[in-house]
C-alpha cells in the first residue's frame, strides 16, 4: 500500500487500510511470444478456492473475439466437461450451452484485435475437494468500440474424486503480452 495514494472528493471521508492475507498470488505467466497452451502445475491444495485473472489476445484476425478452453489434470477426454453461458453482443442477449465436451469454456475471453485485450476473472470453487465435481464460473468480455461481447460462464469438470493440481488454458494462439495469473483464496 502506498502512502502517497490520494483521495479527493467533496464531503468524503477517506482512510487507508492495512493489507489482509486471504488472497495469495501463486503463479503468473506473461507471454514473450505466442503460444497455444498455458499450464499451471503443482498447485498447492492448501486454499479453499482458486481464481485466474486473464488479460489476453489471440492471433489478430480483425475485430473478432474467441472463447478460451480450460481443463484440469491433463484430462481433455470427451464427455468430462459441460458449460453454460449468458452473453450480450451489444444488441442481443443470448444463452449457450455445451455438454459432453473435452474442455470447459470461458466465453468471450479473448480479443483478436490489435491493441485490445480481453479480460476474464475465473473462479474455481472448492478445487481440492475429493468428493464432488469441480465447478467454475467466469466473467469475461472484450469491447472494440463498436462491437464486442460480455458474458457469464459456468462450467463443470465431472470428476468428483480428484483434487485439481494442474490447470491448462488453450486457444489457437495466445499472443505476446497476454498474461495469466493464478491466485489462491483461503
Amino acid at each position: 500500500m502506498s502512502p502517497i495514494l490520494g483521495i479527493y472528493a467533496s464531503q468524503i471521508s477517506g482512510h487507508l487500510w492495512a493489507p489482509t492475507g486471504a488472497y495469495e498470488s501463486i503463479a503468473t505467466t506473461t507471454l514473450g511470444s505466442g503460444t497455444s497452451t498455458i499450464t499451471f502445475s503443482s498447485i498447492p491444495s492448501t486454499y479453499t478456492h482458486l481464481q485466474i485473472r486473464v488479460f489476453a489476445q489471440e492471433t489478430v484476425s480483425g475485430a473478432g473475439f474467441d472463447n478460451m478452453n480450460i481443463y484440469f489434470q491433463s484430462d481433455n477426454a470427451s464427455g468430462n466437461y459441460a458449460v453454460h453461458s449468458l452473453s450480450g453482443d451489444g444488441s442481443t442477449a443470448f444463452a449457450q450451452a455445451a455438454t459432453s465436451r473435452n474442455t470447459a469454456l470461458i466465453y468471450n475471453a479473448l480479443s483478436q484485435n490489435t491493441s485490445i485485450f480481453g479480460g476474464a476473472v475465473i473462479d474455481i470453487l472448492d478445487y481440492a475437494s475429493v468428493n464432488k465435481n469441480k465447478t467454475i464460473r467466469a466473467l469475461a468480455g472484450v469491447d472494440f468500440n463498436g462491437s464486442g461481447r460480455i458474458g457469464l460462464s459456468s462450467g463443470v469438470w465431472l470428476n468428483s474424486s480428484t483434487a485439481i493440481s494442474s490447470i491448462t488454458l488453450t486457444a489457437s494462439n495466445f499472443t505476446t503480452y497476454s498474461s495469466f495469473a493464478l491466485y489462491g483464496i483461503r
Binding site: M1, I12, I26, G88, A93, G119
Partner: protein, 166 residues
C-alpha cells in the same frame, strides 16, 4: 506465496452534495485494480460514469448485458465519454469492477464488471478506454466515478484494491 488483494483506499460519502468520487496517485505497482462500490443516489436508477486520468473525451466504449426482471437485454455505447460500469438507484446498488493490467503502456485498457440493484436490474459490463491521446501508452493513475444526474446519498462507499501477480 505472496499475499495480495491489498486495500488501497476507501471513500465513504457524507452529506448530500457529492456527485463524483476520485482515487488519485494510484501506485503503478499492482497488476489489476478492483473497485467495490455500494451506492445509492437521490433520484432513481442511474449508471455511474467511470473515467480515467481526468479524460472526459469520447475515448471510451462499453458493451452491457443486463436483466430487468422481465427481459435479458444487451446494449452498447461507442465513442462515449465514460464507461457505464456501475449502477445505482435511490434504493441501493452494488458493483465490483475489475480494471485489468491498468499500469501497462502497451495496450488499451479493459474493464469487466458486475453490478446490481435488486430493485431494478443486474448486469455485466465490459469497457474499453483507448486513452486520451488515442494511443495505448497511458497507464491509469487516477479513477473518477461520477453520478451524472444527481448526487450520491450519504453512506455510499467506494473501495479500491490492488492485486499483484507473482
Amino acid at each position: 506465496m505472496a499475499q495480495t488483494y491489498t486495500p488501497l483506499a476507501t471513500n465513504t460519502v457524507s452529506g448530500s452534495s457529492t456527485s463524483a468520487v476520485s482515487f488519485t496517485s494510484i501506485p503503478q505497482t499492482y497488476t489489476d485494480l478492483v473497485i467495490v462500490a455500494n451506492t445509492s443516489n437521490s433520484v432513481s436508477l442511474e449508471s455511474l460514469a467511470l473515467t480515467f486520468n481526468g479524460d472526459t473525451g469520447t475515448n471510451y466504449s462499453y458493451t452491457r448485458l443486463y436483466g430487468n426482471g422481465t427481459n435479458a437485454i444487451s446494449d452498447r455505447a461507442t465513442s462515449a465519454a465514460y464507461i457505464a460500469a456501475l449502477l445505482n438507484s435511490n434504493t441501493i446498488g452494488n458493483s465490483i469492477i475489475h480494471i485489468m493490467n491498468y499500469a501497462n503502456t502497451t495496450t488499451y485498457k479493459t474493464t469487466i464488471s458486475r453490478t446490481g440493484d435488486a430493485s431494478n436490474r443486474t448486469s455485466a459490463v465490459v469497457g474499453l478506454w483507448r486513452g486520451s491521446t488515442g494511443s495505448a501508452t497511458q497507464a491509469i493513475t487516477s479513477i473518477t466515478i461520477t453520478v451524472t444526474g444527481s448526487n450520491y446519498v450519504s453512506g455510499s462507499t467506494f473501495s479500491l484494491y490492488g492485486i499483484k501477480a507473482a
